[in-house]
Amino acid sequence: MRSRNREDETGLLRFLTCGSVDDGKSTLIGRLLYESKLLYADQLTALRADSSRYGTRGAELDFALLVDGLAAEREQGITIDVAYRFFATGDRRFIVADTPGHEQYTRNMVTGASTADAAVILLDARKGILTQTRRHTILVALLGIRHVALAVNKLDLMDYSRSVFDDISERYRAFAAELGIAEVTCIPMAAVEGTNVVTTSDRTPWYEGSALLEWLESVPIHEAEQVGPARFLVQWVNRPDDTFRGFSGRVLRGTLRVGDEVHVLPGGRKSKVERITTMDGDLPCAVLGSSVTVVLADEVDVSRGSVLAAEEPLDVADAFQAHVVWLDEHELLPGRRYLAKLGASTVGFSVDRPKHRIDVDTGARLPAKTLAAGEIGVANVHLDRPVAAEPYHTSRDLGSFIVLDRLSNRTVGAGMIDFALRRSANVRWQAVTVDKQARVARNGHRPCVVWFTGLSGAGKSTIADLVEKALHARGVHTFLLDGDNIRQGLNADLGFTDADRVENIRRIAEVSALLVDAGLVVLVSFISPFRAERELARGLVERDEFCEVYVDTPLEEARRRDPKGLYAKVRRGELANFTGIDSPYEPPFEPEVWLDTTTSSPDSAAEQVLAKLREMGILDEH
């Protein structure tokens, strides 16, 4: 660290503003920018021009246009996405996340709140506490923001009534306390006139607290993470040559000192901090937030994603209870394999059926089978390997994760860890003596999964049956899992929603993997509409043990054949969620076998599958 001037000591406060439409949020931000030095003459000129062209305030400046920077936002007069704005006073720097009040509400709030130290919640004094106010407060509490100001705005329209302000403040404090927000600063305000925005106003002589800006200047920053045992997240292994092996990363909690004994997690090996290196020279210690490079005294195994933890180690687990916020328009599918990024680790990830979801309007716990866009639920989550993590309330950095879709690569969810599930450390795979190799030797052939996918009526079961007959005749040990049959037993509890379809296939994928372990050639005949679950099934067995067969029949042809009369039922409106009609089917990109049933007979289709199995070495050549 270099020498600093006073300006440098002031620090940076990140906060978010929220409030419903037309409660004066943009006016407030505009005024904060305007009063600070960060709004320049040419920007004001542009704002004047934009105000007359797009503005909603007549001849006056429309401050909303300062923050709504996208063309589409200006055209429609709404805020689409979070904007980050900067301003500064003599005492502090600020980044304000301006979160939109419109669609995708929760998603934007959570995004803005995830990096904020404080929240300013605006309400309209004429309307008092609304659903929106409660919703913001619930989200702010969930995200762990401890410093909250309630700006009771538009008090000018209530003649600066003290009793109106006191009444709203009292009721709001009670509500916030229920959510665990211990302290709320309530400020009477008229943002349009600047009352109590930057300085306190004599229009509210009865108010003895501070103006909003004064409050923002006094909010403590990062106080929780400064104390407690040091945590250092390794982002990159730094090896310029074979004389130096350092771990580049960041101090996420406490202070890391040379000489500290650290646990390397996961793994648990111990070592000592030998050097803390930067381009400006070695440091005796690295405080919270520092990006440095650590050299350890011993040659221990440390890689990207490892956490160096001083004093008591943190949880290492592959299952957690977590609050999950769903961000994508496609709902969360419990059981589907996603990816999660947690710290600097990207791991396979799935969610059990949620225990409940939280009604963000009331805070109530509601039953849930899945989570739709913007919904927040509590669920157990599973990772495909153990990671070092902490509860979110202890560490935002080590207790948060994002969920990524494996195929689209979109960020579909986010989560906050409540605690590690102990049973994840206690249930272990049981090693057995008679294994797959033993069964292969006895059977005289290799096992595999032959996975038939395609629309209802495509001909999957007909072809699978012919293949099984041929295999059986050659003495191959087979088993056929057919969608209709399994739904009468093992999966009788599942319906046809997307979530249930995912669970349906997940179970079949697990069963077929077990049967492969049993040494069988497993024929699976399921519509299996989603690529993700077919990929899951593929991932559960060895690479050369999976043969995806796409029974490609155009919808029109399947409808014409209609062997089970289902398409007729759909037509009569007696059947919903039917694949290809009102429920999607995602065809494979590169199946091992692609059968066109409009040009080949079932027998020749079966022969094509058998040929592929010979090629894969499952069947002998003869």
Binding site: Y40, H222, L288, I402, L404
Partner: protein, 299 residues
Amino acid sequence: MTLGQLDRLEADSIDIFREAVAESERPVLLYSIGKDSSVLLHLARKAFYPSPPPFPLLHVDTTWKFREMIAFRDETARRLGLELIVHRNPDCVAQGINPFDHGSARHTDLWKTQGLRQAMDKYRFDVAFGGARRDEEASRAKERVFSFRTAQHRWDPKNQRPELWRLYNTRIAPGESIRVFPLSNWTELDVWRYIERERIPIVSLYFAAKRPVVERDGVLIMVDDDRMPLADGEVPMWRSVRFRTLGCYPLTGAVESRARTVEEIIAEMRDTTTSERQGRVIDRDQSGSMERKKQEGYF
């Protein structure tokens, strides 16, 4: 003890550099020679020290940069021992695209936007670091730190990946790329204070000196070479000017100034009433023009 403001910005930027490099195959730093690029490069060196930055520099050259910038660019790469890739859009070279005959908008699109897309494709870069800051311009204020681009290099402002905590989604399909902006949360003043504190070398065009300029549409344009056509009776005047931002010399307005040191520049900045981009001719093409350019792949 806690980190000061510049320390914290520095630590955040280093964190972003490391995260992007750890998760990409072929990263590159878009080096445009200006003050932000200089800070970016300095941070990149800090992020990976004692290793050198594990990526080359890419300069998308328009052939219309100030001569001093080009000299500074080559000297910087040599001094730091870094690989420098210079890409000039061959179509523009062949057609002699320039801001006078073809207008600033077409000039910028063909040289810079198309040039950058060509270079990204040619070298198959999957991550490109840029020095853009959110305080520069309204559409940049809305852009993510990790900004996803399609295989056609398009930015869709309405469909950005949500960015939570410090967790960045770096997953892309072949051909797609991510622009990474480690200076997102820096302001112009931060950049200058950091240059002062770290003694980072910058092009001397940022410091006031007597330079030959003409005034066009209220903007002072420096006559950097004899390719610039002068109107009848137009004679370059020698004025004490400097630049707050650097681009193609015919499109970059100078400001009258006496500031000859970084300290004096900072003092001047504290009193200024205009933003740094007011001298950028290309920003004024039309309202929302930066957003449109960015959607097409502009950096």
